[in-house]
């Protein structure tokens, strides 16, 4: 469902941006309804960060319209940013300040009085799992704590919409799960979230809808389950072994809808009815190991954006 203008937290239409003749965004359109979590997925260089910078009014697109929390951008980008919180891809907390000072100074940028920010700090630190750390100096915090403090900082102005640029990149599993849990809480409170990521499990867990970007275009858009159902066979059997590529070429055809070879692994994409016959066939080939699993978002992503490295 596409959100209408009145209910949209963010509307982006026909966004174009080129750098020195190279098209980075080639007509990107999407919208976020209030209260929804929307993901932008794409390989490196697909244009995710450029979209976020355009939405914040930090760069001007060559063409296209943006409405951020009801304000036209870049025309009223500053007013829009009053109601938005941002977690950037790279940590830019103030290393000279304590935890509480980071929040207080950031509150001033939104015109909050120090007294008002002081009232908000305990709640924010509680939420970020940093209670009692008010006076901790930044170099003493772990990577996960800094990330949570960045999230708390993005909430200092009680924003309607959060823009998160790869919020869990570089974190250990414990820290990632804690961030996910907090983001779900924010969604329950009615906040809207736009998130970029290249972790498929993150997108599948959090996003109501998402867009897969490649080379500046949206190549697929929808709910994670819909995308899996509409773009890919429902079952995957991975076949490993030195002989796997040879087997795929010579014998697999009658048993699978589609297969992809990557090194010594063959990914067999099959319909539900094909699973049992294919597994029976593979059972007779002891030199090949197999793994059967349902298709997931990563399969869709790799099908649509290819397996080549993007550096």
């Amino acid at each position: 469902m596409e959100p209408g203008i009145s209910s949209a937290a963010l509307l982006v239409s026909e966004l174009h941006k080129s750098y020195a003749g190279r098209e980075v965004l080639a007509g990107v359109s999407f919208g976020l309804a209030r209260g929804e979590c929307y993901g932008l997925l794409g390989p490196n260089g697909a244009g995710k960060t450029t979209i976020l910078r355009c939405c914040l009014g930090l760069i001007e697109p060559n063409a296209g319209d943006i409405q951020l929390v009801g304000e036209p951008v870049p025309g009223r980008a500053r007013e829009a940013r009053m109601k938005v919180g941002v977690v950037p891809q790279f940590d830019n907390l103030d290393p000279d300040f304590t935890v509480a000072e980071n929040l207080r100074v950031f509150g001033r940028y939104f015109g909050l009085s120090d007294a008002e920010t002081r009232r908000r700090i305990p709640g924010l630190l509680d939420f970020a799992g940093l209670a009692g750390k008010e006076n901790a100096r930044l170099p003493t915090l772990s990577g996960g704590m800094k990330r949570r403090l960045t999230l708390a900082r993005a909430l200092v102005n009680d924003p309607e919409l959060l823009l998160l640029d790869e919020p869990t990149t570089g974190l250990d599993p414990q820290a990632r799960h804690l961030i996910w849990e907090r983001l779900k809480q924010l969604l329950q409170q009615g906040k809207t979230i736009l998130l970029t990521t290249h972790f498929m499990d993150e997108a599948e867990r959090l996003c109501d809808r998402l867009a897969i970007l490649d080379e500046g275009r949206i190549v697929a858009q929808g709910a994670p389950r819909e995308l899996i159902a509409s773009h890919i066979e429902p079952q995957v059997i991975e076949v490993y072994g030195e002989d796997a590529p040879g087997w795929a070429q010579a014998e697999a055809q009658p048993w699978v809808r589609r297969s992809e070879v990557s090194g010594e692994t063959v990914f067999c994409y099959v319909d539900n009815a094909q699973v049992i016959p294919l597994l029976a066939q593979l059972a007779g080939l002891p030199r090949l190991r197999t793994l059967h699993r349902p298709a997931n978002l990563e399969d869709v992503f790799l099908k649509l954006t290819g397996r080549e490295l993007r550096d």
Binding site: Y19, R81, V86, L93, D96, F97, R108
Partner: protein
């Protein structure tokens, strides 16, 4: 945003950026002030007593005062210039490029014009504090003639604005910290030697004297020195105008270059 070349827009939002830098400074205020004092004081005493001891006292070339008194007023100006330059180069570059403090601020409802204005005012403030510290010390030592010296404070603030703006141009162009060495060795050092800090400009060959006319520091010295010697400068308006016009044009150039660097 719009055109990179549009004139600077000023707003009170810049104060939040100024306050951020002030809060960092306040945590390290005492070492910072002492650090800013040490270097100019070593020059002042070293040259003032060492070299000054060999020079005729009350020479007309030094305005009828001892060399150290002559040098003290030059030191106030040179030190103000240095403090503004260091803040606008190394510290601002660190916030822009290394710590990405500016990126964080730009995600809040501030524009790049606000960030740069805050940095500019802050660097000028810090330069004023540095010049003021020297003023206090030389007053205590009796090198200042009269309360007329208080007029020096707005002049060093203006001098700070001029050199902070020039520094911000270099910062907008800098790929890394090493780049600043060129600015210091090729511009700042000759500026100090040609601007009448250590000896009167009139001692220089005519060609160098005309170069000095183009140097903002020389104009600052022309106003500050008489004030510290207890007289009104003969013709202060053109000197102050050079400082002000340089400050405004340089700030605009710095802003255009910074917009081009960051808003793309």
């Amino acid at each position: 945003m719009g055109n990179f070349f549009s004139l600077p827009r000023f707003s009170l939002r810049a104060i939040a950026v100024w306050r951020r830098n002030f809060l960092v400074w306040r945590k390290l205020a005492i070492p910072s002030v002492l650090g800013n004092l040490a270097d100019p004081m070593i020059y002042l005493f070293g040259l003032g007593y060492g070299l000054g001891g060999m020079l005729p006292t009350n020479s007309a070339a030094f305005g009828g005062v001892s060399y150290i008194v002559f040098l003290a007023s030059g030191t106030v100006c040179a030190s103000t210039m240095n403090a503004a330059s260091f803040e606008a180069l190394y510290s601002a570059f660190s916030r822009m490029h290394v710590q990405k403090t500016w990126d964080a601020i730009l995600n809040a409802p501030l524009a790049l014009d606000d960030v740069l204005a805050g940095e500019w005012l802050w660097a000028a403030t810090k330069a004023t504090l540095s010049g003021l510290a020297i003023l206090v010390v030389i007053s205590a030592l009796g090198f200042v003639a009269s309360p007329l010296a208080l007029w020096v404070i707005p002049v060093i603030f203006l001098t700070g604005l001029t050199f902070a703006a020039l520094g911000l141009i270099v910062t907008a162009l800098a790929p890394n910290f090493d780049f600043f060495m060129y600015y210091f060795t090729l511009l700042m050092t000759p500026m100090v030697l040609l601007s009448g800090v250590f000896f009167p400009i009139e001692q220089l060959p005519a060609a160098f004297q005309s170069v000095a006319c183009a140097l903002p520091l020389a104009h600052a010295v022309r106003v500050v020195r008489p004030l510290l010697l207890g007289e009104w400068p003969a013709n202060p308006i053109p000197h102050l105008a050079v400082l002000l016009v340089t400050a405004l044009i340089a700030y605009w150039v710095a802003l255009v270059l910074t917009r081009r660097r960051l808003l793309k």
